[in-house]
Amino acid sequence: MISGRPSLSIRTRLIAIIMGTSVLALFMACAAFIAFEAQRQRKEIEARLSTMAAVVACNSAAPLVFMDPGAAGQTLSALAADPHIVEAGLYDEHGKLFASYVRGPTLRRPEESGADAAPSILPDHGPTSAKADDAHLAIWTPVILDRGVVGGLYLIADLEEMNVRLREYTQIVLIVLTASSFVALLLAFWLQRSISHPLALLTNAAQDIGSGDLHARIPAERDDEFGLLSQSFNRMVDSLSRTTVSKNYVDNVFRSMFDMLIVIAPDGRIESANRAACEVLGYSEAELVGMPLHRILKPDQRTGAAASPDEEGATMERIYTTRSGNRIDVSISQAVMMNGPAMMGYVLVAQNITERKRQERLIAVQQAKLVESSRMSSLGEMAAGVAHEINNPLAIILGRAGQIKLLAQRGELTTAAVAQIADSIEGTVHRATKIIKGMRLFARDETEDDFHETHLRTIMEDTLELCRERFRYHETILTVDEVPEEIKIECRVAQIGQVLLNLLNNAFDAVQGWDSKWVRVHFMERNGDIVLHVINSGPAIPPAQHDKIFQPFFSTKGVGKGVGLGLSISKGIVEAHGGSLTLAADMPFVTFEIVLPKSIAGRAGSHRTNPIGAAS
């Protein structure tokens, strides 16, 4: 983590160091210069003064010896040539003032000057000595004649001019110092900028990348070390952006998913949830995060496998409870998040399938209705033929009754005639009864009925009776194998009859309009199962339609001739009986094969009651 304002502290320090160093160096140079200059000027004045004093002392020796103060004064007055000398005094060998010189209006008493103690300091062979205070320089020199000290001379020079000059120097130096400092400051700024600006850029870019923006780059046109650093940094970011999906991108995907995405920590608490999850469940993200997963599960699912995330990759359906207590159906798929060997948690993707479930229930209801109406429709197809089949026997019976009456009227009703007529009536009634029985078979709603053990022969005869008429009237030959008397099957009779009738009706429709019109029902036993083949002479079914024909609402018949449910319902019924209904391949004629186990024991999936099993 990068703290606070690193660039600023580096910057401040850089400026401080640069400024401190340069100002200190300049200051020391200036101070040394001024000190040296003051020293040099003092030395110069002192040397001049010494020379002057030596000359004056030499010239004053004679007046002093000859006791001629006038000449001494004249000698001293020559000192006026040097503007620095403000005062001079000549003493005799006893330390008594012999002659003096004072320059300008400022009368300076010798007693107050630095040479005031002249008598006391007048040694016999005292050397030339100098004394100075801030404003004046005093020099004392003995007056010597023939190696004997005959007196002393002092000169006082005014240092004012030197001080003024030094002050001027100092001012100039200060100005130069200020200007230099300013230049140094500019240089310092430039230097810190050249160092800390790239650092600041690098810092900002690193922060951008840290927050997921992999587009951040640093200008890398410099030739120096920073240029190299920037280039390496940019290369690093390039390779990072190639190999890593940016955080922003992932966040965006996560947020814009329509499905709920919930990340669960290993302890079962919700670690994060996307917007869809919040919206569907009615919680805010802050509320969901940290909540145990089982809180949103339907109460009866809170124990066992449902409460904890399930196995990897599994898709399952669950019921979630929203904040307001509504229950929603969800389809969940989940994955375990691993970081090396460590389990990081689970990712759940949950889809709200409440509406789909509702639709499915609705469709199931509608399918049941369709099955019913389809059954009625196939009944309706037969109704016309059945009416004919019933009305004809009735016409015969009525005719026979009329015949009896007529014969009786004419007295011709012999025993033989009665027997013959009665036989005819009996046979006709049997015929009608069979048809009515077939009808009754189909009129029952036995979707939920139990299975009954029934003779297959009976089912087939009853069913065939219903369509035999139709075949006969359209000159379609119907051949049915003799089914052995003892063959029995445990089944829902009406449903199996419906399947047979459907197949026979389909076969009948398929052969109409062709020269050779026949339908054959072939019976055999295979592995203890009943196998029926319904074969027709109609055109082959294109291979592309082999699967489609069993799908609901697929029909090759014209509009109004069928809804396309017959085969899908038949398949569903047969499968609910644990059998199969298929289109037999590699047969010379169109052949549908029904395989049915004889008993419930040999049956799988007999619990299924929805006849549209083929739809799924």
Partner: protein
């Protein structure tokens, strides 16, 4: 097929009865012959077409649906014959409207099975007297 000349109101009039139900043909033949009709029966459309082409009839009573085709076609064929047109009656076990209007236009009456012979005769007499 037998032809019996008998005394009765029909006085040798000729009728063709067409039905694939042999029993029905037999019963109707008995009744009509006792009333003095000359009766011929056919049990298929093909047989009926043959008889109608060979012979001429005063009345034809035919079933509508037969194994070898629609009775309607037979009726249409009868109408196209150049001979004096017979009175055409239909008997049918169906109670839905199988016949179209044009077929019915030349038909005297449609009898719904089952019917009694008395009803048949009364209706036919009424039709004949009415025309």
């Amino acid at each position: 097929m037998r032809t019996v000349e008998a005394p009765g109101s029909a006085n040798g009039k000729r009728i063709l009865i067409v039905d694939d139900e042999v029993d029905i043909c037999e019963i109707l033949q008995l009744h009509f012959e006792l009333q003095g009709w000359s009766v011929k029966t056919a049990n298929s459309g093909r047989e009926a077409r043959m008889l109608a082409a060979l012979d001429s009839f005063d009345v034809i009573l035919t079933d509508l649906r037969m194994p070898d085709g629609n009775g309607g076609e037979f009726i249409e064929q009868l109408k196209s014959l150049s001979k004096p047109r017979p009175d055409i009656y239909i008997m049918t076990g169906f109670n839905d409207g199988v016949l179209d209007e044009s077929t019915l236009s030349g038909v005297r009456h449609v009898f719904q099975k089952p019917f009694s012979f008395e009803t048949l005769v009364e209706t036919m007499n009424a039709e004949r007297n009415g025309s």
